[in-house]
Amino acid sequence: MIAVFRKTLQLLAMMFLGIATARADGLRGTGDLGVVIERAGGSVLIVETTGQTVLGRVTGLGDLSHASVVFSRDERYAYVFGRDGGLSKIDLLTRRLVGRIIQSGNAIGGAISDDGRLVAVSNYTPGGVRIFDAKTLAPVADIAAIYGPAGQRSKVVGLVDAPGGRFVFSLYDGGEIWMVDCRLCIDGGKPVLTRIGRAGKLPYDGLITGDGRFYIAGLFGEDGLAMVDLWQDPPVIRRIMDGYGKGEAKLPVYKMPHLEGWALADGRFFFPAIGRHEVLVADAGNFREIGRIKMHGQPVFAMARPDGRQIWVNFAHPLNDTVQVIDVPSLKIVKTFTPGPAVLHMEFTPRGEQVWISVRDKDRIDIYDTRTLKRVKSLPVRKPSGIFFTARAHRIGL
């Protein structure tokens, strides 16, 4: 009875919000829309960043305990990658689920090709990458991540899109970086696979720089990062930031850092150290370490405001109630917030005047003004994790 009443109220509230944001002619763009993962309930919220409101909820997306989102190039559709291998396609305008498949037993993330025609998913079980037609979600390619003389299957991490209809990814167990060219896949052609080479022990995530040139994998098993220059032909792997731990004992890592959205600002890269409560700073020209910034805990995300002036950092359990802001010119921490237990993700609005922060254990999203560093609004959300705005559609690697 109470549940029914609550449902009705929610419906009424959503209808009201719908009316409040719709234009008289019923048309709207999607450039200020976004998707927020509600990790415990298998649902997502569709939000808009102009008035900072929730437009609606889409349910039935399966296990979203680890989930990520990419957008179609027209910014109308969101592809949600769930932990259970679910790949769901959501229409942001009608706020309906328009396609859904279970493409594996256990997945970690995905990417969309530069031409918007292919969606790729990286899988843990069975380890590999599967590629689908973005329009229909029909399968077009299946790459098994088989490595070593015994032919073992590896979990795949750090999958990104690269220019030229390619995807690059890392083999967690296999310690290798691979690239697949799938330009012809959709018309029945075969994927062309390049095993670029050995990255190092236990690559745990990867990223591609915003210009699509460098792919970088973080290594859990070694002090260093593996980097591929995709402008080289054939591409080769180079070790960078080698020995940044300098043999010191690592601190325990209670949550793996995410490299996606790592920060390039003022000619410098900023990224989470692993097993150290530091953000590392490297010269973006030669990838040499030029500094370290002592932080509150093990960084998980270190994200640059779109203009590069600030880096916002969140942390792993048990210090995950805090967010710190680094001022790029001075490399100093200019603000430490405590939004509440379990700050899981941060997303900047397209030009960075605001940042949305998910505070899982408070069932809340906090929105901050990035200039005044003051909280401007909070939205109630059930166990929020990832926040994804449609502006990602037009950025390489996101």
Binding site: H66, N106, K255, H317
Partner: protein, 111 residues
Amino acid sequence: MNARRITASVLVSLLLYPAVSQAGGAVPDPSRRQQLIYLLRQDCGSCHGMTLKGGLGPALLPEALAGRRAEDLAASILDGVPDTPMPPWRGEISEDEALWLAGQLLKGLKE
């Protein structure tokens, strides 16, 4: 699940729950048990999956753990596993609590 049903199932499990875990350690009190299960799902879950069917870390479902001893699982929880990302939880989780958690994993968690 609504609040009333949760309360009911908590009460039932309180009544049925033995004071000593299968593995022999003292059983944490109900509110601590709730915290531990939350920690298990949310924070262990970031590697092992919120439903414990695995992620970067291995699955922790009863089928996957069949044949493992609670004491050994508790030791992995407390001290971590060398050469893997599994960190030590000692300091945050006591020995009795680790044994209780290991017992829960072997039995399988209820939703």
